[in-house]
Symmetry: C2
Subunit: 331 residues, 2 copies
């Protein structure tokens, strides 16, 4: 029988890639999204596939459905979006996860939770292994996201511990690619949109701060590989590592300075007249984070394959195709 999959947040950046991939593999895919940051445009090409269903629904409200696998990706993920309504953001993380886990408990579905490197907060060690507990403010501007995602991890751990729900979790590090929201305020989309529209490229500080960037296809490959493992395999692996919860860092540890990223973006858009300009570093600047992906390598035989230059070309092609149709203002 064809495997039935639910993707919450499936009209978002990462969810839409996952949906396309799983459909291509022959699965039956249902996407649930409230279209707050996700868009119909991201899944437009999937709508006429008979194995595809779209549900307009908010995960904070309970829902029902018989699925073999549920990927929970529902939550605004960029500060510009998640700080617009902080109360809704933390509710989406917590209640969304709770509703997914309750449904999984009743229907014996597998659950995949996409947590985030943000649960490490402002880390005191580099790179961050899964065993690191993080350094997060409970009452700051970013807490609605960070603490919401942390508490959702705890829910997953407790539904596994108490009710044996078949849960797996990943912590996603900085990821980019087609279908990114052009106005999400992240550095890659900012730089590309600025370069395409001949606006100055803004660097904060001296641009020497480093970031690591993962192309979305590498992430999707890791997600599928992790979901396809048997629970017994996962349990044995973590047991051998003296860890009791199935959580993996997924990201690309290659580091680039922000200035290198800006220069590479301009190199790939030679017609741009944009100049680099330097601004003071904001108080709330996202902190440097770099994944330790040893565990993912061992468990999934996975490592990122797509270098920044190649991924950036694909992202630029996407933004530039959509830019023509006044994409930026329609979102």
């Amino acid at each position: 029988m064809t495997k039935k999959v639910l993707i919450t947040g499936g009209a978002g950046f990462i969810g839409s890639h996952l949906a396309r991939r799983l459909l291509a593999d022959g699965l039956e895919v249902t996407v649930m999204d409230n279209l707050f940051t996700g868009t119909k445009a991201n899944i437009y090409a999937l709508l006429d596939n008979p194995r595809f269903t779209f549900i307009l629904h908010d995960v904070t409200q309970p829902f029902w459905g018989q699925f073999d696998e549920i990927y929970n990706l529902a939550c605004p993920a960029s500060p510009i979006h998640y700080q617009r309504n902080p109360v809704e953001t933390i509710k989406t993380s917590f209640l969304g996860m709770m509703n997914v886990l309750e449904l999984a408990l009743k229907t014996k579905a597998k659950v995949f939770y996409t947590s985030t490197s943000e649960i490490y907060g402002d880390p005191e060690i580099h790179p961050q292994p899964e065993s690191y507990w993080g350094n997060v403010n409970t009452i700051g501007m970013r807490s609605c996201y960070d603490e919401g995602k942390r508490a959702a991890e705890t829910l997953c751990a407790d539904y596994l511990r108490e009710y044996h729900v078949d849960v797996r979790m990943i912590r996603i590090f900085n990821t980019y690619g087609p279908n990114m929201h052009p106005q999400d305020g992240r550095v890659i989309s900012n730089f590309i949109m600025q370069a395409l529209n001949n606006r100055d490229i803004t660097l904060y500080g001296d641009g020497s701060q480093t970031r690591s960037f993962q192309f979305v296809d590498d992430l999707i490959r890791a997600m599928q590989a992790f979901m396809n493992l048997e629970q017994s395999t996962i349990t044995a692996f973590y047991h051998s590592k003296q860890m009791n919860m199935p959580v993996l860092n997924i990201g690309n540890p290659d580091e680039y300075t922000i200035k290198e990223l800006a220069e590479e973006t301009l190199r790939q858009i030679p017609e741009s007249t944009s100049q680099l300009v330097y601004m003071p570093l904001p108080k709330d600047d996202p902190k440097r984070r770099k994944p330790d992906i040893t565990l993912a390598g061992e468990l999934l035989n996975w490592s990122p394959r797509i270098p920044l230059r190649e991924g950036l070309a694909k992202a630029i092609a996407y933004f530039s195709g959509n830019n023509k149709e006044n994409f930026e203002n329609s979102r």
Copy 2:
């Protein structure tokens, strides 16, 4: 008009002291409790007061009522209780806080949230000031409590930030006194019950680890003082400290070794035939924590008054009065 107060978790250890105190001050007090760890016995003496109402209700389910002030104390607080059903524990923290804040938003009630020193986890600095972010595992055995309480702080901060709900939060450090659950597994109740029943007093490790203990009356006094401040006073104070959220540590910074506590307990129960015995330190031993109470001193002109010797005498009187009636087994 008489002030109307709701205390969620009001049949528990701390809630029952608060209820008694507020009734004595002439307020109208409603206690809401699901009686999971709270007991009718704790509020028995209040039941015939015409200004007192008891509601048997679980805070994870929405509720309605017109109150001037809401104290949210609902959550099992000792590992032995909160680990019995971890999923319910984190739901109680998060959904309970959400339901209280939603009610406060609609009815313009003041909200008082009793957070905990557990949000500091296994702290890397001593003593802990309010500005310390903590060191907490998202997926461990204690996470259902620690992360639930952390996320509830975030909810308070976000309802204040987004909807201007008049919220204040305290982080309660180790507290003891009458109405403590005799089987909550905490060191003071353990030692007293062991001594009263002539069982060996168990020390873990060599007993040289230190703890600080706050007598419950000191805590209640701080809670009332904080609740009675105007929001404008609080805002101005935190603004002057470059902090943007009203949170205070409340605890007693005096430190005693566990061995000193055991010896003092035996000194106060001279008829006991209990002996001190030493056991290996468990993996999950609660970590040393000591409050920095500078802020509470400045804002409330408050500091703890009751020394361990005096508080212990009151706790022993309580346990020994109840012990006679086979109290330990009836709970």
